[in-house]
Point group: C2
Chain length 271, copies 2
Amino acid sequence: MTKYWINGVLADQVSINDRGLSYGDGLFETIAVIDGKPHLFDQHMERLQIGLDRLKFPEGTIEAVKNDIQALSFSGNQTLKLTVTRGLGERGYKLPATCVPARIISLSDSADFAQQRQQGVSVRLCQQRLGLNPVLAGIKHLNRLEQVLARSEWSDPDIAEGFVSDLDGNLVEGTMSNLFWVQDGVLYTPKIDLSGVKGVMRDRLIVLANELSVEVIEGGYPESVLDSAEEVFICNSLIGIWPVITIDGKPLNIGPITRDLQLLLSKEMSC
Amino acid sequence: MTKYWINGVLADQVSINDRGLSYGDGLFETIAVIDGKPHLFDQHMERLQIGLDRLKFPEGTIEAVKNDIQALSFSGNQTLKLTVTRGLGERGYKLPATCVPARIISLSDSADFAQQRQQGVSVRLCQQRLGLNPVLAGIKHLNRLEQVLARSEWSDPDIAEGFVSDLDGNLVEGTMSNLFWVQDGVLYTPKIDLSGVKGVMRDRLIVLANELSVEVIEGGYPESVLDSAEEVFICNSLIGIWPVITIDGKPLNIGPITRDLQLLLSKEMSC
């Protein structure tokens, strides 16, 4: 069962004049609640703050979000989704003279991903390209049509994810995840400076790889680097790490760096 | 006073699980109702259909929208806004197994733009760049953060519009309008193939220019072309044509092609 709050009050509808609906004028975060505690909460709030700054939201917005969350009761493993929109607006792009952001929260039971984490998943390469825009890159804003279109390319339930590249031909991310691959013992991941979402789990895994003394390189690479990759995995805040066992049908092994990172992550995600 | 309908019923709130809010997964049209009749209605429906196809909305969506509109009573000069979202969805980008689009309509009194049409307006050049994405270019989708950010660059009420260029440095549009300029008797306007909205009024004015035997060239041009322009104007479905009389303070004259197009347009917009 999912519960919903808007601005701290139980509610599940917004005005059709909310700028989140009109223009995608807002941001969101999806957080894993583990054993009653939001995982990587500070990191999610840091990314949200970067987005709020980038979109010129008023001061104090993040404090209101944190107050909302402090008022919630968590239990066990849940999924916490926060959406912050610019709130009500007249027709037109101009920011409201007085901006009162809408804080939308949903809290639901979490799914069990033990099988995907253990056995790995199949992925595909998407046709859809991501546009380039440094101002919107990295933050988790509500303008997500590119992800919707990429995800619409397949319906086969055995394909868990699709990788998307940008207009320049550089690999960026999965539709709902970030990706890593291993080559000659080095861990690679796309840099997220022109498109894509800079995942909280992505950044956490870079820290954990450092703890394992695994070198991590962020850069711009074409899809073809995956042909010779020794290991490939995807990650996000909810799924943790899913090893990739096929890309467009081509098989891959689940390797030691993937398993070591999963082990390290399991100590904080208890998974 | 503004009236609102959702799926043909008076209502002004949507579920927070509507994908229009979650992902900007939808499209909109803003139509001038003139003397009780939606202006350029067929053209608006054509652009909406292009967007619905591009975003893979189900067949029959446009017919439902048209039915909604046929059920309305128009009077005098009004503003009709249509929004079509993908409707309810679970968390995640995957299209719902059964997609039931939400059709949101608002009908309000129209503003009077006689002064801007007659005397012209001041515009500025925006810093914000538009990203490049051919799949989303042209259609009027709900992912409009770039326009929001461009419009947030100024608050001076004497500046009516800001011109934005794309990442390649080509002029694209105003935040809420398309733009045209005259050089050596030829009418120029940016092509809308990598970013921007292909305005219904923009396309109408290309037709009207042809009726006036004015050559129209669509292409990629940097902002600097405006330095030597003989006339500049902006347009959209509501404002009609507004001559531009200053760009970043530099004065421009209102020229004969602008006035001739305004005269021709006034015969159908009665303005």
